[in-house]
Symmetry: C3
Subunit: 380 residues, 3 copies
């Protein structure tokens, strides 16, 4: 099965986004650099002369090594994504999805650059794949975020370059057109890029904000079909669930809402770790559905809930809203040791559907902030 | 059928908002002008002496002709809305709704005024209508937004005047009371008004922001009942779907989520158009349900996600959240040619439910911002 | 039945948050006060020397007596919550829930303190209770917001002290672990605390903002199970609905969404009251699910939609978004008399599900702001 689904009535009548790719592609023949970019555009020759580095991708929740303040001028940052369609277990009951992934993880790897750097992505769709894929970067400008220039069949690869013109954290995701777009996105094919201001993060007064460590939490809504007995169906090959999926998706009610691909991916032995006194950056992406991150026992000291670093961060939040199709960022300096839960604070979504992580924090307890004055005792 | 639904148990037990209209109306006998308005209130004589203009309504996505910076002082802006209950096709399968409309379109027409102008609306409910109707302007102050003063039966008309005391984009909608309020709103009876600051839009530093063109995207959630075979039911007359609707509405899951009344109303041949270099204002209203506008391949350069022009716009957003019952505004200067999709970025809502538009943009491609370095090719 | 639900497969596989409590508790043995608090931490001796006051709890929508600007330095504010599991009627049809409450109301009582005050809560779980309970304060720092230090069985009590280090309005709720957390929260066991800046509320320019009266609106989503005939099931004892609840909760579709515990709790004879010219503070908490407060016929003059008083308020909003798991605040100075409806502006949630309140406002009508120029009349 591929996304040539013209025979499927639901697909054909919702296929208007498919045609977009073709039209967008038809317009990109012009090689001339127009002067419409906000920051000073560079000529082809100037871009060719920029320093080039390769960013080594790492699996979430970790971020690639990066400088918080850029050293030197803009660079071309080379990144390689290899698509992998893979069967993944999504909960403790062994429920399965044929996930669609960049580099084998849900979410895909975090890219980190500075504003005005150029990302040069090599996208590879192995011959073993079943489906066409592409990539739409919300951080980029034009051609459906690159989706119109990167649609590749199994056995193909392509290279896309774009300028990171806006600072912030941004979602990327597969968008092959028509109903295949939500299908791919809700099968795990999304991730995020962080575009840091060249001089780093700032508060509303322009004072630098730095972090000691950073985690990437990708929240994923899955829509797994069930059989007549209510059991999740297991499929033999990627996309075999397509028509069943359409029915579940239409309910707008996910079967699972998870962090980093599966229930428990960031809890228990997989818990995130930090130390009291450390400032931790949490990047939270949700490519399709609203979320509301909350750190139980902590706060968002600085929060960019829309993801834009061009706006001053909000201060001292209990919970922050992430719009579906966006990433947001929050920094918290841990003040107490212990195990924290980081959740989507629709608690049904967190605990019954799966959207929860743990952060184990070492340090010394601060009785000023909290103290158990009297332990649980029989009522006087 | 009218909204005298006392015999319907669901209606009677949720009818508390109905009584509101009566009570509110009972309190408006006082003709004295109280001194509680924020800006200098005008006497009846002063208002009578203001210049009067008639604003010609146009169907969305277009806006009436207007000045971005007001010329002269406050005016009385006369507007005429004629209610039309009409059968509309909402998708490519021919599914139908008996839409309830202002001036025949879903959403109703955009009104544009400047802060401290007075809107004088003539509301007409033709004798051919089945239902009572009224209008609640979120931009106005008092009497349920005017709802208590405008409830008219078929064959009646009335005139409401209100001062546009707060700058921003605001929803208006029908609110006849009780469950008829969500019923009318989710049958298309809503629109928006833009109240511009007299000296125009500003960024956070007070610098003027202008736009070259503007579009009004009204997102609509429909709750169409299905029969036992799963087919959408066709009804013979407006409001015949009432009790079936209540069951679907209670699921909180729309059958359709569309822009400007129907799937495809703003795509393909109906696409919006712009040119690279043009600053385009998108006003996005959702009278009932949250949305998250996103321009695929573009951004929100300036975003007023709450709709209030009294607050500085947010900058450089990938996606922005519109609360149900609110309108928001975003300006983007297109930088690349091609076909853009403007969507509610819950991609299931955009593509499976219908909340998507196209923007066709002319211009020259900018390789600095994006370049297809290598076309799709067999893997090396 | 208690929350030892290891035999329930759904519970056991989602029980990771249960273990959190134990681990957190294990880490709090250190008595040393670490220097990681943002504001100057006090020693045990210094805290012991602070003035102590007892705050008398009142049932919502009312707030305890408080000063808007703090008099003197930080205090220890003693508060007492007695848990009550009680059968409540939630709608006009007599549908019932075994609510889980603090002090017998849904939501629990509002606590009001100033930044850097210490809250010393005595939590009592009567021997007559069926379940274990605890409390997680979003306003606090560490130990799962206090949840790890306050888990008490029927017949027990405990005392927790925490410093109100961040200004704003914040949710508190029961969080006994695993699926019991959403279960308790969506059975009414939540409330809010307001932490005022010591020098009171301020606008973006630092100008003081005061209010004449304040109301606490706690929005509650219930997930009542139905029997085969579609009737809401009545249970004989608290928590008997547990396994049925899990099925309804998984749909993410509440049966009821109400203000202050039940449909109609704040309408009709229970309407809130105000006078034209009065500035009214509305605190809106939703411990689990997004909401979008809107005052029909009014506005939010000043809105802290995230609840943080460390950020400047937004101005002149028609509707504001509250993330699930957060409280927000809005101040409106009424300008017109009449009956206002204060709703969650998903109108289905407001009117079909129940999330609506009334505010009856006395005063003189202002024709400058709104006038019925022509009453409903036969069309000319």
């Amino acid at each position: 099965m591929n996304n040539n689904t013209a025979n499927h009535p639901k697909v054909s009548r919702r296929s208007f986004l498919s045609s977009t790719a073709a039209v967008g592609a038809g317009l990109i023949v012009a090689d001339v650099i127009a002067g419409t970019a906000q920051a000073a555009p560079l000529s082809a020759k100037e871009i060719a002369a920029l320093p080039r580095i390769t960013q080594e991708m790492v699996a979430p929740p970790f971020l690639p090594k990066h400088d918080q303040v850029a050293k030197g001028g803009p660079k071309v940052v080379e990144v390689r994504f290899v698509i992998e369609e893979k069967k993944m277990v999504v909960d403790e009951d062994g429920s399965e999805i044929w996930a669609l992934t960049y580099n084998g993880s849900v979410p895909g790897p975090m890219i980190v650059v500075h504003q005005d750097d150029y990302i040069e992505l090599t996208l590879v769709n192995p011959a073993s794949s079943v489906l066409e894929h592409n990539i739409d970067f919300h951080a980029s400008t034009g051609a459906l975020g690159g989706g119109a220039l990167t649609l590749i069949s199994p056995g193909e690869e392509c290279v896309l370059r774009f300028r990171a013109s806006k600072p912030g954290v941004f979602v990327y995701h597969c968008a092959p057109g028509g109903v295949m777009t939500p299908y791919h996105v809700t099968h795990g094919m999304n991730g995020a890029i962080m575009v840091l201001p060249r001089d780093g993060l700032k508060d509303k007064d322009g004072k630098p904000i730095t972090y000691d460590k950073a985690f990437f939490v990708g929240e994923q809504d899955y829509y797994l079909p069930r059989d007549a007995e209510g059991e999740y169906i297991k499929y033999d090959v990627a996309a075999e669930d397509f028509s069943d999926y359409l029915e579940v998706a239409a309910t707008l009610t996910p079967s699972h809402i998870v962090f980093n691909g599966a229930v428990g991916a960031l809890t228990g032995d997989n818990a995130l770790t930090a130390k009291a006194g450390e400032a931790v950056l949490f990047i939270h992406a949700q490519a399709n559905r609203d979320s509301r991150p909350h750190l139980i026992g902590g706060h968002g000291d600085y929060v960019w809930s829309t993801g834009s670093f061009a706006d001053a961060p909000q201060i001292g939040l209990e919970t922050w809203m992430i719009a579906g199709g966006a990433a947001g960022a929050a920094i918290y300096t841990f003040k107490q040791p212990g195990l924290y839960a980081y959740v989507n604070h629709n608690l049904i979504e967190a605990i019954i559907k799966g959207a929860a992580a743990h952060v184990m924090v070492e340090g010394k307890w601060d009785d000023d902030l909290m103290m158990q004055v009297k332990k649980p005792t029989a009522i006087n």
